[in-house]
């Protein structure tokens, strides 16, 4: 299928998400759409897929201008989408998910499960994508769930596949497998539109690259272009992709976690006997595919989740099962994974959010009443020092962009003396510029002798920041390695494989 976009413009109120976007995907081509978070990639996809209607411009399929009232029509016309958050019903079988909306039936509206299975087997064989049609989706690993999404699109005779940030939840090995699938699909004549902000992947697979920034196409690029060239196109200026770190000799152990067991919301053990330590002047980066216990581990350290067994000590003091307030008072700064849920009170001002962790303390409060002058002065200083872009310190924090919201949290947590700084996914959803900034702040803290624990599912970030890298899988540490370790080895550790003599 040949897909052509001509002058697509989409506005939300006064905000223009897409401005006169032109793009052509040829049959059998892997076309990468590269852009930062918030550049307008998702909006454009939703326009193509019929979830949004463009304000101006045309979507042409094989030369014919088309408009889809809903995504069902897009699917019927041969457009398949693999969503970043899978559109799969977890409790259904693979077969039920694949045929949903296009079910084969017998008399009395009965589902023809036999035919559904056969259809899946046929498509599976044709494209070499093996999946058991009777498996329950939620019991499959993420990589296979994504394969089900692809199968679903193919079984609806998709000629154009849109893959929206498909690698975010995959291990490096699963990413390789996905790339192989994409190449073979393209070879069989399918068109592929691959959306991402990861430069490595783009260079590995793209036939054509279109870069968009702030809702506009800024140009096309070649897979042979360097990462630095792609990044500067994406961001609009030169970007330093590496993090400069001086060599620092780490000091004493600040945080020691021993045999920790923590349960998740369903009551199942998510952290299953984790032991690790963070020394002063060292960044320990915890790598792993999302959902392997990182969230629960950090919440346990921050006092937000009860510890089942095991101990957490901070500079020799036991802080196991302490309350969040006690943990704060012990000198732990915490940048939570979900900044809007746990990091900020969205309906409060920037100034108030900047003192959320110390509201009762002098100078911000005295004898039970707040000292607003001190709060505002603190806010003015931090906004300047951390370059937080806001109209005023009194503005609601919800009015800030994602990157600036994250800066508010980082500023708050680093604005007082700490023993340990814990940051979960510190740069998720940030633009490259903000990432650079947050990374520099983290490295500065380490250089000043603080212990730092970083949790990230971005391997690039882990490799760039970590002095040591601990890999977590299935609630256990599967290895602790040096940052010089190959990506492949770390990838294997992320799948739970054992690597011998991993002392770093």
């Amino acid at each position: 299928m040949r897909l052509e976009l001509r002058g697509i413009t989409k506005r939300f109120g006064t905000f223009t998400a897409n401005h006169r976007i032109d793009l052509t995907v040829e049959p059998g081509q892997i076309h990468c759409l590269l852009g930062e978070n918030g550049a307008g990639k998702s909006t454009l996809m939703n326009v193509i897929f019929g979830l949004l209607q463009p304000d101006e411009g045309d979507v042409l399929i094989d030369g014919v201008a088309t408009r889809f009232a809903n995504s069902g029509e897009a699917v019927r016309r041969g457009i398949g989408m693999v969503h970043q958050h899978f559109m799969l019903v977890p409790v259904f079988t693979v077969a039920e998910n694949v045929v949903l909306g296009f079910e084969p039936t017998k008399s009395f509206d009965r589902l023809d499960r036999q035919r559904a299975r056969e259809e899946i087997r046929t498509v599976s064989r044709e494209f070499n994508l093996e999946v058991d049609p009777d498996a329950i989706v939620e019991e499959l690993p993420v990589g296979l769930q994504q394969r089900v999404e692809i199968l679903k699109a193919l079984s609806h005779d998709a000629e154009l596949l849109i893959l929206d940030e498909p690698t975010a939840v995959l291990t490096p090995q699963e990413i390789d497998a996905l790339m192989t699938i994409m190449r073979s699909l393209a070879a069989s004549g399918k068109s592929i539109l691959f959306i991402t902000h990861k430069l490595k992947e783009v260079r590995a697979i793209a036939d054509v690259i279109t870069v968009i920034r702030q809702g506009e196409v800024v140009g096309t690029a070649q897979a042979s272009d360097s990462e630095a060239e792609l990044a500067s196109m994406m961001v609009g200026r030169d970007v330093n992709l590496t993090v400069d770190k001086a060599v620092v000799t780490p000091g004493d152990e600040v945080l020691v976690v021993t045999d920790l067991v923590v349960r998740d919301d369903r009551g199942l053990p998510a952290v299953n006997g984790v032991s690790l330590s963070v020394r002063a002047g060292e960044i320990l980066a915890l790598a792993g595919v999302q959902g392997n216990g990182q969230t629960e581990l950090v919440e346990a350290i921050a006092g937000m989740r009860p510890v089942e067994s095991g101990t957490i000590t901070l500079r020799g003091t036991d802080i196991t099962n302490h309350s969040p307030r006690q943990v704060l008072d012990a000198g732990i700064g915490h940048v939570p994974e979900d900044r809007q849920l746990h990091g900020l009170v969205l309906s409060m001002s920037v100034a108030d959010n900047l003192v959320l962790n110390t509201p009762r303390r002098a100078p911000f409060a005295r004898r039970g009443s707040r000292n607003l002058a001190a709060v505002n002065e603190n806010a003015e200083q931090l906004v300047k020092r951390f370059d937080i872009r806001t109209t005023s310190t009194r503005a609601l924090v919800s009015s800030l962009s994602g990157g600036n919201q994250q800066k508010v949290i980082v500023a708050r947590e680093l604005s007082r003396p700490l023993n340990l700084f814990v940051a979960s996914q510190p740069t998720r959803g940030l633009d490259v510029g903000s990432i650079e900034y947050v990374h520099r702040q983290i490295v500065n803290q380490r250089d000043e002798g603080m212990g730092v624990l970083i949790v990230s599912s971005e391997l690039d970030e882990v490799l760039a920041l970590g002095d040591r890298i601990a890999v977590i899988h299935g609630g256990r540490i599967s290895g602790v390695v040096a940052p010089s370790t190959s990506r492949e080895t770390i990838g294997l550790l992320m799948t739970g494989a054992h690597v011998e003599s991993t002392d770093a």
Partner: protein
């Protein structure tokens, strides 16, 4: 550095039912069994006996007569207790994956009968020394029927992702209108249809407020129940009190099924019922078949589990939800008429929380029609016994038994026994964006 790739290493562990909870149910069954054997068995003394009779009160359809079975109370209850202990041990030790709730339900029913035998023992305070099995089953079946209508209504709504807490209100509306229509037309089919209409309109209001205006479904539901309760009291005073002819003589006739109704005990309980009972049976089969075997059901369940996924393949989420909430409301409306027809007339407040018990049965039955039936039978029986135990002068307040459905529901919902998992999008507003 050598690498050892574990085969089949996966990134996500499959969720498994915690075995501890299944074991908990087994232990609770065991404790109930022990209690039965010791208190109702040994505690009633070995000289006492209770009589079990089988002949229905109305003998018109019973060409058979069965004699009275005289039981030694103590030994009977010890045996019942041992059976319950055996079932409990089986669950606690073998941790079966299926049928745990059904076994628990069976133990609950055995417990009720042991309680009855104990209450009717010759050495007890009661003048009545017999238990009429057929009468107990018939009385319980009338309540179970109403609960099944209610919980089926809940299944319809919640499987599509809308919590219908207004079942009680739909019962009240159906009962009120049903009585009025039945009194004037003397036709229960018309009454049932009008009851369905009223229930459906109440469902439409719930759907409209929660789907169009994204109001909190629980609050809308409670508002509807409160409104119907007050409105029906007011209209009762204004209409039925001055014109009692519009609210009288509405006992639905039994429609015996030829031959089958003549079977001893089972005949009167299952085959000599009102038309509502048979409609209920057909509805259970229809909803069960529809939800789990048809394309319609697959789509409804997809909408209740993951509306975005359903929408992404062109299923109209809001439309499915409207249809199901209206159909669910209609089913509950018929349930209200059925309840009225089993009582003969409308009385303000006489549904006394049956709609909420139906909701409890829905949860206990794990959002499945079959499970809802099992739960409704147990809960119907406990409500019936709570209403009728006074006659045996049991030295325990009957309200304790009346609490049974709620205690069980709290235990289930809190995860104390069993694992319940509602449809993932149940009660959540859906926005098309």
């Amino acid at each position: 550095m050598s690498l050892d790739t574990t085969p089949g290493a996966t990134t996500v562990a499959a969720p498994k039912a915690p075995t501890g909870r299944t074991r908990g149910i087994g232990i609770i069954m065991l404790v109930i069994g022990l209690f039965t054997a010791l208190v109702f068995g040994v505690g009633s003394g070995f000289s006492a006996h209770s009589a079990l009779t089988f002949n229905p009160v109305s003998l018109t359809n019973a060409p058979w007569r069965l004699g009275t079975l005289t039981l030694l109370t103590a030994w009977t209850n010890v045996v019942l207790g041992l059976v319950m202990i055996g079932l409990g041990l089986g669950v606690a030790v073998r941790l079966p994956r299926r049928g745990v709730m059904a076994r628990f339900g069976f133990v609950a029913v055995l417990f009720f009968f042991a309680l009855l035998f104990w209450a009717a023992r010759t050495t007890g305070p009661s003048q009545i020394n017999f238990v009429n099995l057929t009468a107990v089953l018939i009385g319980s079946s009338a309540l179970a029927m109403v609960l099944i209508f209610g919980s089926l209504s809940g299944v319809m709504c919640e499987r599509a992702g809308v919590v219908n807490i207004a079942i009680e209100g739909q019962f009240i509306g159906g009962a009120f209108v049903g009585s009025m229509v039945a009194s004037t037309t003397h036709d229960f089919i018309v009454a049932a249809l009008v009851g369905a209409l009223v229930g459906g309109v109440l469902g439409l209001i719930l759907a409209f407020l929660s789907l169009r205006y994204l109001s909190d479904q629980i609050i809308v539901g409670v508002v509807l129940v409160t409104m119907l309760g007050s409105l029906s009291s007011y209209l009762n005073l204004q209409v039925f009190t001055p014109f009692p002819q519009y609210n009288t003589g509405n006992l639905a006739p039994n429609l015996p099924i030829p031959l089958l109704s003549k079977i001893p005990v089972l005949g009167p309980v299952f085959f000599n019922q009102t038309g509502f009972f048979y409609v209920m049976i057909v509805l259970v089969a229809l909803v069960s078949f529809g939800l789990f075997k048809t394309r319609w059901g697959l789509r409804v369940r997809a909408v209740g589990e993951h509306p975005q996924a359903a929408a992404s393949v062109g299923i109209k989420v809001i439309g499915v939800r409207y249809a199901n909430v209206i159909m669910g409301g209609a089913i509950a409306g018929v349930g209200g008429v059925a309840f009225m027809a089993s009582q003969g007339q409308f009385q303000p407040g006489y549904t006394s929380g049956l709609g909420y018990i139906a909701l409890a049965a829905l949860i206990f039955g794990r959002w499945r029609p079959s499970g809802a039936v099992v739960a409704s039978v147990i809960f119907g029986m406990s409500v019936y016994l709570a209403d009728n135990l006074q006659t045996y002068q049991v030295p325990v307040p009957t309200e304790i038994l009346g609490m049974f459905p709620y205690v069980i529901t709290i235990a289930v919902v809190s995860g104390l026994i069993g694992r319940v998992r509602p449809p993932a999008a149940d009660g959540l507003p859906y926005r098309r964006d």
